[in-house]
């Protein structure tokens, strides 16, 4: 009896320890990065001396500011385009039967698993070949292509949980397809759409490989700018900007997690 209890307690304790180690492994580097962004020493030496000078320096760094602005602009445009197109596609997949529907749905998944490096390379080749070239517009195109499958899957999951009944109920009550879309379907889909939009934002904002391939000299987004800054020398300034990026991304993803859980309910 007692021994069994002891074994249970031990295994529970071991489980907790394991979980703690995993979280430590995941978050310790980020924590060090954030702390060092607030440390006065350029060479990361201890003892820790609090300063906000790296953040102040950021404000004067034109290149970083321009890159941040580009990042946010591309991410917002991507969110708008990918969410709109993706929602429309999800509606079509959920409500209509058409030729090639299954094939198209299956084709949504491979881009998620294909390494970004390969997608980036192929996009560069394609854009070069078609004359689209490099630049923010090319990055935007790349990001939209990359985030579309995620949007379609997230919105599609929400739609699947709603079913066709509400649409039929609206139609039986005399609502035109447009009235039904605006007054019934979109409001009910809203949590899914918002979650998908946050995801699309995060995909674009955090994207490095594709942005790096499609960035012409002189134009840059935040992850690319950070990368080139590191190559020149690792200043605590990079820690500061990285911390800001992490905070933005984590906020967005936490909101996403919250809303997509929302999406599970009716």
């Amino acid at each position: 009896m007692n021994q069994a209890r002891w074994v249970v307690l031990m295994s529970e304790g071991a489980g907790r320890l394991w979980l703690f180690l995993v979280l430590l492994f995941l978050y310790l580097p980020i924590l060090v990065l954030a702390v060092m962004g607030l440390n006065d020493s350029v060479h990361y030496t201890l003892p820790f001396a609090f300063t906000t000078r790296w953040y102040e320096d950021l404000a004067g760094n034109e290149r970083l500011l321009q890159a941040s602005f580009n990042s946010v602009a591309v991410a917002l445009a991507n969110t708008l385009i990918a969410t709109t197109l993706g929602t429309m596609a999800a509606l079509a997949f959920a409500r209509y039967r058409f030729r090639g529907r299954t094939a198209l749905q299956l084709l949504l998944f491979p881009p998620i698993t294909i390494p970004w490096l390969i997608i980036g390379t192929s996009m560069l080749v394609l854009f070069f070949w078609t004359g689209i070239g490099r630049g923010l517009h090319a990055m935007l195109l790349g990001h939209v292509a990359l985030s579309l499958p995620y949007v379609i899957i997230v919105v599609g999951a929400r739609l699947a949980s709603i079913g066709p009944d509400l649409e039929e109920a609206a139609a039986s009550l005399g609502a035109t397809p447009f009235q039904s879309l605006v007054r019934v379907q979109l409001p009910v889909m809203a949590p899914g759409i918002v979650a998908a939009a946050l995801f699309a934002f995060a995909v674009s904002f955090d994207q490095f490989v594709i942005s790096y391939f499609l960035a012409p000299p002189g134009v840059s987004v935040l992850p690319v700018e950070i990368f080139s800054a590191i190559r020149k020398g690792f200043t605590p300034e990079v820690n500061a900007i990285s911390t800001i990026m992490i905070v933005v991304s984590m906020t967005v993803l936490l909101l996403f997690a919250r809303l997509s859980k929302f999406g599970g309910e009716r």
Binding site: D165, E168, A169, L173, G174, T176
Partner: protein
């Protein structure tokens, strides 16, 4: 005059025929049950009336207008869905008002009509609740009010009481009947529950494998089923078969069983309802049909008992009211007696 008239409607899904040349007239103001097992096509028929299924052939007339190829939102129908399909993001008031606001009816009128209909379904005072804050029965009433408020030409109900528990279902049956009578609207409802069909409706259509088997008033269909399927699906029945001989049939090892219904030539099958058979002691003299046997099984269900009597014609079921509390034990010999009026000729 019929409000709704279905003529030769056929619907195929690939190789399967969901509706096979169904013709059915729904009289104005009737409460019409479409009864059949799952997969019989009854729901397809209802959905064709609603406009969610487009028939391959045939016409659907609502007030003499063919709506077979007109989209649902132009049909002016009301429908209550099996799971109610209330709009989860709208209040009770907004749910009910939906059909009026999409028609751009002035706000004052909307308020008046919604108030009136909520009173009719006895939901006044719950206007601001969300559907998820309501009980199953209340949700059902909201769905009904929402379907009725636009004063549609026909009300369609898809298994309206299927999601409710038994007690609530009985209450709602009464409510539904009261509301239907007050409004006077032609109502068509789909059910697989024979008891619901019998208690609620004034007309029943039995549907099986996409075909219309029989239409009539509940008593008529119950007393004179056309087919073995109809006899079995609406109520319970015993069947006896054999060659036809002077206003009856000869049943193997049992003898002559009489009927008053007209007989075909050759072989015939008779259906006898379990409650139309009386159980008597073997030596009791009696008029009409008579078969002897012994009680093989007894099922007690409170107000009544069902006996399975093993006879030379096979096992026959007899339903007996538990009126005086005398119960026949298994193994006892009994005679089954019934009048020729109660043997009904059915098609196989």
């Amino acid at each position: 005059m019929s409000a709704v008239d279905v003529r030769n409607v056929t619907k195929r899904y690939g190789a399967t025929t969901a509706l096979d040349r169904v013709s059915l007239a729904f009289p104005n103001g009737s409460f019409f049950a479409l009864l059949g097992p799952s997969g019989s096509g009854k729901t397809t028929l209802l959905r064709a009336l609603a406009g969610f299924v487009e028939p391959d052939e045939g016409m659907i007339l609502i007030d003499d207008q063919d709506v077979a190829h007109i989209p649902s939102f132009r049909r002016n129908i009301g429908m209550v869905f099996q799971n109610y399909a209330l709009f989860p993001h709208m209040s009770v008031f907004d749910n009910v008002a939906f059909g009026l606001t999409v028609r751009r009816i002035p706000r004052i009128q909307v308020r008046q009509r919604v108030g009136k209909i909520l009173e009719l379904v006895r939901l006044d005072g719950l206007d601001h609740r969300k559907p998820r804050q309501l009980s199953g029965g209340q949700q059902q009433r909201v769905a009904l009010a929402r379907a009725l408020v636009t004063e549609p030409r026909v009300l369609l109900l898809d298994e309206p009481l299927g999601a409710l528990d038994k007690k609530l279902r009985q209450d709602m049956q009464g409510e539904l009947k009261r509301i239907q009578r007050t409004v006077g609207i032609t109502t068509i409802f789909v059910t697989h529950d024979q008891e619901e069909a019998l208690t609620l409706s004034d007309h029943i259509a039995i549907i099986d494998e996409g075909r219309l088997i029989q239409v009539g008033e509940p008593g008529e269909v119950y007393d004179r089923p056309y087919t073995r399927f109809a006899a079995n699906f609406l109520g319970d029945a015993n069947f006896l078969s054999g060659p036809v001989q002077d206003s009856g049939i000869m049943v193997d090892r049992v003898g002559h069983v009489a009927t008053t219904s007209p007989l075909p030539a050759g072989e015939a099958t008779l259906a006898v309802r379990p409650e139309r058979i009386r159980l008597v002691a073997p030596d009791t003299p009696a008029q009409g049909n008579r078969i002897e046997g012994h009680v093989a099984e007894r099922v007690f269900s409170g107000a009544s008992l069902t006996y399975t009597v093993q006879t030379d014609a096979g096992p026959l079921r007899v339903l007996r009211q538990n009126a005086d509390g005398d119960v026949i034990d298994t193994g006892e010999r009994v005679a089954l007696v019934w009048s020729a009026d109660h043997s009904v000729v059915v098609e196989d």
